[in-house]
Each structure stands twice: as structure tokens, then as C-alpha cells.
Amino acid sequence: MLNIIKKSPYESSALSDCLKYIKSGDVILFTEDGIYAVKKEGAFGKLVSDASQTCAVYYLFPDAEARGIKSEEVISLAKPVDYKGFVDLVGDSLKSMTW
């Protein structure tokens, strides 16, 4: 299952709600204000790095650029995708859940 998180983890429970439901083999994609979750320096970098032990973690690169989050500021286990990569992720999982 592909899990999409688009809200800031600092102001929304979307990330923590999602993490309660993930299973090995799931994919998590961070988009829009969800991007702040993959920032290395910040309150959620460690949590998301831990989650990447179970799940493949991606972030939407154009949304990170928009917010001034450069790739070197992102946790090393999160992989960047552009919109085409986003489309592939949706296709590769049998279904998606937007948290």
C-alpha cells in the first residue's frame, strides 16, 4: 500500500496516524507540507528514518524545492521522486491511502 502524507507533522496527526497502520512492504510518500517530516534537522527526522526500516520512504522533490528544503537537508533514507516518480509509485502499489 502507498501511504501519502501531505500535512505538516508539526500541526497534524497525519504522520502519526499513518505510522500506526503501516506494514512491512508499504511505501510512504511525503508531499506538500508533509515534506517537513523528512527534514534531517527537526523533530521528525529520526521517527521517519526508523519507519524506513519497515517501509520504502520517498518525498516529492518539487514540493521540497518549493519549501527551500535542499536534498542535503533530507534524511538519507528518503528518496526523491518527481511527479513522474509519484505516478510510478501509485502504479506500483495496489492501492493508496491519503492520510
Binding site: K6, D33, G42, F61, R67, G68
Partner: protein
């Protein structure tokens, strides 16, 4: 309008782009600045992300409205741009990452500034 200047503070609490609040807050700041009142802006919580250097929303076809912060104090009559220190720290944003010259102050001090205001406008 009354003679004494009204002390009004925009309290910016949301991140840019995911929602429009910060963009429309800036439009209000610019308009307010032309009326010769005492206008200040405080960035707390996710609002501090609006000030992060290097934003480039062109890839998502959105206007980079945050450039306005660069000139808000100089070209417009905004008295103060406060940023809460604790919110920066929690989000791993350093002072040198900020795009405009702002006053980084601890939460307790910002609360004292808030107490001086007549009106708070949360965005």
C-alpha cells in the same frame, strides 16, 4: 479613526504553499502598512518555515510570495518581524537560514509583546 496608533500583530502559524494563509496574510500586511498604524508580525510554529531561505516553488507553478518579507520592514511600514526561537529550534531551522532580517526572540519575550497588542490576527 482614532488618534493613537493601534497596535496590531499578525500571528503567522502556518507553513507556506500547502495552504494559502501565509500568502493572503502578506497581502493584508502590505495593505495595513499603508495606513500608518503600528503593525508587527510574529512567526511561530510552522509559520517560521515561511522565512526559510532558498524557496523555489516554480517547479509546482506557484508564485514565491515570501520574497516580500525581504522588503516588508524597509519599503512598507511594518514595525517588527518577530520569530520565535523555540519554534526555529524544534524545526531545525537556524537563524542564518532565514531570508529576511528578523528579530529572533524567546517565546516568553514574544508573549510579552503579544500582551501589548490591541488586536491579534492569526494566520
Amino acid at each position: 479613526m482614532k488618534d493613537q496608533k493601534a497596535k496590531i500583530m499578525f500571528v503567522c502559524r502556518t507553513a507556506p504553499y500547502g495552504t494559502i494563509y501565509e500568502q493572503e496574510a502578506i497581502e493584508a500586511m502590505i495593505m495595513f502598512s499603508s495606513y500608518e498604524q503600528d503593525i508587527s508580525v510574529a512567526f511561530i510554529g510552522d509559520g517560521v518555515f515561511s522565512l526559510k531561505k532558498g524557496q523555489d516553488p516554480s517547479l509546482i507553478n506557484i508564485k514565491n510570495f515570501t520574497q516580500t518579507y525581504l522588503v516588508l520592514k524597509d519599503d512598507f511600514e511594518i514595525s517588527h518581524l518577530y520569530v520565535e526561537k523555540e519554534s526555529l529550534e524544534e524545526r531545525g531551522v537556524r537563524e542564518e537560514d532565514l531570508l529576511a532580517e528578523v528579530e529572533v526572540i524567546p517565546r516568553a519575550e514574544l508573549r510579552n509583546k503579544i500582551d501589548e497588542m490591541k488586536v491579534l490576527l492569526p494566520f
